[in-house]
């Protein structure tokens, strides 16, 4: 009989097998996600779906029709708020948008948009800056269900109070309620905000450069990635941005272990607001060109 293995070691094997099954069978690659949060989410799913073990969860995913959708849901970036961290949106409004105004066409990429709260926040900012008509927002996520929710733009009315406060703190000049209609316990953001938004599937782990962007927003997504994957994604953002284009990350994200950070300069480091360097740094593919 083999020597007993501590539960925690056994669990690591089970998580690895789960990740491997998800990748080989369905093409979703979580192998470079940082293990602590990933393991926590897998455990949670195991409990929610009343599985006795992670292996049982894996079996269900492999054998049961569309159960994988639930799994993807459980592993996705969670819900955000409109104008979350208002000082960030205030700075985008006051310092970044006036500079983007010099471009005839403005492309914004919100990577990992989840249920879309920040996408609509951006649309409102652009509208109030008078730039929306010549802007296009690409809102991407690998989670099809989240994208669908983002596209619908319907949210619980109970969240609107906090979001209104955020909006005002972010320098909003109107009332947030002028951008949505309330019905029963829900609010729905106006169709005109959706006009120049494309919601589309993109996986930061496996997909490539997506558009030529002037501003990339990706907040609290990379915190779930390993250092290597974080760095690769940062390089992907660099290659998607025009020179001098802007990058906005989550407030507590750290780039200390990402060599690709050298290709950006901080506009406001405390707000995690960066700009792609105007001149190529040594490591960039077109440095020699």
């Amino acid at each position: 009989m083999p020597a007993p293995l501590p539960d925690i070691e056994l669990e690591r094997i089970e998580v690895d097998l789960f990740v491997s099954a998800l990748k080989r069978r369905f093409g979703f690659d979580f192998s470079e996600y940082a293990p602590a949060s990933l393991t926590r989410r897998v455990r949670q799913m195991m409990h929610v779906h009343h599985c006795d073990s992670i292996t049982a969860l894996t079996a269900r995913m492999l054998h049961e029709g569309d159960f994988v959708n639930e799994v993807v849901q459980g592993l996705s970036v969670p819900v955000s708020e409109m104008f979350r961290d208002p000082p960030v949106f205030r700075t985008l409004r006051e310092q970044v948008l006036p500079l983007l105004a010099s471009y005839p066409r403005i492309n914004v990429w919100q990577a990992g948009c989840a249920s879309g709260q920040e996408v609509y926040s951006l649309a409102i900012l652009l509208q109030e800056a008078g730039l929306y008509e010549r802007s296009h927002i690409f809102a991407t996520d690998f989670n099809a269900a989240a994208l669908k929710r983002a596209q619908e733009g319907i949210y619980p009315a109970k969240d609107a109070q906090l979001w209104s406060r955020n909006y005002i703190e972010a320098g909003g000049s109107q009332s947030l309620s002028s951008y949505y209609s309330a019905r029963y316990d829900f609010i729905r953001l106006h169709e005109r905000l959706r006009q120049n938004i494309t919601f589309t599937n993109h996986n930061l782990v496996t997909d490539k450069v997506f558009c030529e962007a002037h501003l990339v927003l990706c907040r609290n997504v990379l915190i779930y990635f390993s250092n290597e994957l974080q760095n690769r994604t940062l390089a992907l953002f660099r290659d998607s941005l025009v020179r001098g284009g802007y990058l906005c990350l989550g407030l507590r994200e750290s780039l200390d272990f990402a060599p690709a950070a050298a290709d950006f300069t901080a506009i406001d480091a405390s707000l995690r607001l960066y700009r792609r360097k105007l001149h190529p740094a040594s490591g960039e593919p077109d440095a020699a060109a």
Binding site: A36, R40, I223, R252
Partner: protein
């Protein structure tokens, strides 16, 4: 008994006074990693600044991807769950609140016990909710040591009481006696 590698502390309502007392009593020779999860809505770096003059060990907000160094107090940032990777580096998450809290003590305790196993002391101090009880139970199941502030003397007794009900404790002590106990366990 081997001295532990880390101490994880959870506190909520009344935490400033409690942390001031606790951190002021810690022996500065301690080489353990101290982790603190505290439910404050405010800025954690400001809290660290306020506590710095009372704490015998350096205290700072835990930063994403940075190592959990010994002889240092690391405080979970407001609005994020604090987790540890197996290589003893910090990770943050914006996953749903747990027991209405983010950071959640349960999440931090759970992650710390995954990494440190039996080499962890969990401490539950004053608070008006039940966060930390589940996490403390996990620490005990993995062979770690559980310390709970005596509910009767706590500014808010609900949290230590919940911890005692759910997890029990190896030591249940008034606030003033917790730092001396930790010193004894860690310098043994």
């Amino acid at each position: 008994m081997q001295p532990p590698e880390a101490i994880a502390v959870g506190c909520s309502q009344g935490s400033f006074h409690a942390l001031r007392t606790l951190l002021g009593g810690i022996d500065r020779r301690l080489t353990q990693t101290l982790l603190i999860c505290c439910h404050t809505s405010g800025d954690v770096s400001a809290l660290c600044d306020l506590l710095a003059s009372h704490s015998t060990l350096p205290i700072r907000e835990a930063r994403e991807r940075q190592p959990a160094t010994g002889g240092t107090v690391h405080v979970a940032p407001a609005g994020y769950h604090l987790l540890l990777e197996n290589d003893r580096h910090f990770a943050l998450s914006v996953d749903e609140h747990v027991r209405y809290s983010r950071p959640s003590i349960d999440v931090m305790f759970g992650s710390a016990t995954d990494v440190y196993g039996a080499s962890l002391i969990g401490v539950v101090l004053t608070g008006a909710n039940s966060d930390g009880a589940e996490g403390l139970a996990r620490i005990r199941r993995r062979g770690g040591v559980a310390v709970v502030q005596t509910p009767e003397g706590a500014e808010a007794p609900a949290m230590p009481r919940a911890a005692l009900e759910k997890a029990g404790a190896d030591y249940c002590l008034p606030l003033e006696q917790i730092a001396p106990l930790l010193n004894r366990l860690c310098l043994a």
